[in-house]
Amino acid sequence: MYDFLVNLVGNNIVAFFIAAALPLFLFILPYALLAVLAERKVSAHMQDRLGPMRTGYHGILQTVADILKLIQKEDLRASSTDKSLFNFAPYLVFMGSFAAFAVLPFSSFFIGSSIDVGLFYFLAISSLVVAGILMGGWSSNNKYSLLGAMRSVSQIISYEIPTAVVVLTMVMITGSLNLHTISDQQTAFFWNWNILGGTLPGIAKFLLIPLMLGAFIIIFISTLAEVNRTPFDIPEAESELVAGFFTEYSGMRFAMFFLAEYANMLAVSFLITILFFGGYHSPLGYLGNTLGVEWLVPIEQFFWFASKGLIFVLIQMWLRWTLPRLRVDQLMTVCWKYLIPYSIAILLLVGLVTLI
């Protein structure tokens, strides 16, 4: 991708910036616009309502209008906030969630950076979000913000453990930290996906299937908690904390937190897709290969990657409008007493299976 851009632009610095900004403008911003609308529509229909209907046909321009409204809004700042931290926090959160996309292989052609510690980088860079949340919550100088930030951080840190253990399990199977390599191992058809035992030979593949299913459920739950979505949304629990750590924010800064939340949802969905569902690989083979049109393959791959990721985002929304919020103690119980023991057990069992 980068080389292609260097050839196109003729200057590697410009190409560098284009390569960095392209996923953002090409994919993530349109996605965020769509996802906010989808969230409202899905929630509305699940509650037998209609959702936004006025702006455009069935309200499809609603988020565009909302964004325009947010841009126009005054950037309010309460007088007793810590000015510099307050201003910087949304950017940090935004940065943390968007930096994660740098290592995701959107297709075999379109990948920000195919570094060899991609998976590890993905987990590490998310911690910038934690720092940003804490920064925003503390600098707002508001009890709700601070409580929300504290809850959020303790929750994210706790749920990072099962995520990391499951990721470790997957690293054990695939033998790589590079997301590109992990995706490419699950090529060809859907029975090569890791959720169906990957490309392990013989009986091991079938022994792996239930373990992988468990691992998938664990990582889905824990990443859901990491992005602070219902049923794990105690950090922004509307009924208790107004809006949690971004209570004091308004206008564009608020929009940034909002955007970061949706970008995070997508990022973890993509991570799950890559780890368990074959990344950008099609489940049924490629049209481009059968027709002999080579440039079609990356586009198809992008399509499969995006649709797999979006399906998980939709499931996250579905869960949000199904389940009530957990209490703080229940949240910690789920993590420490259930997810972590299960994930460690799965790690050990997978280790045994891979030895066969």
Partner: protein
């Protein structure tokens, strides 16, 4: 100026600038958050040196773990809703003198050493080698560290449970 140089100076500036803020800031929380940028800049420089694994560990452990813990400590031990958490810097002049001497020694070493310079391809990845070495050559130390951390974990858990006497 190559792209590499630009990025290097960017990270160096971030590291040094935020380190100065850490030292000089009167507000502990500001200092702690500047420390975040310092870690971040250092990890950027690690990446430029080809130590990608260390760089990521730097972010994960220091930013994701230690810094957050530090902030929690600061926020929970002080009056948390009050922004006035202050720390002073004392003995500025001795510090400057010490720093000057240290810089002079460093500079002298840098210029007087006969550095071997040869064209050397930076390794694209270090994770495999690190893993290899950890589990072969240094396996005993690795295991001991693991046990140490486990002991610390168990200790922390038992301290946390103590309230039920």
């Amino acid at each position: 100026m190559e792209l590499y140089d630009i990025i290097f100076y960017l990270f160096a500036a971030i590291t040094i600038g935020s380190a100065i803020v850490v030292v000089n800031s009167k507000n502990i929380v500001h200092a702690a958050f500047s420390l975040l940028l310092t870690f971040f800049g250092v990890s950027g420089i690690y990446v430029l040196l080809g130590a990608d694994f260390i760089a990521v560990v730097q972010i994960m452990v220091y930013v994701g773990g230690i810094l957050i813990l530090l902030l929690f400590g600061v926020m929970l031990t002080n009056r948390i809703t009050n922004v006035d958490i202050r720390s002073g810097s004392i003995q500025v002049i001795p510090a400057i003198i010490g720093l000057a001497i240290f810089t002079a020694i460093l500079f002298w070493t840098m210029t007087s050493t006969n550095w071997k310079s040869e064209k050397f391809e930076l390794p694209t990845t270090t994770a495999f080698q690190i893993g290899d070495i950890l589990l072969s050559e240094y396996v005993l130390i690795f295991e001991l560290l693991g046990i140490l951390l486990l002991i610390a974990l168990i200790g922390a858990a038992s301290i946390a449970r103590r309230d039920k006497e």
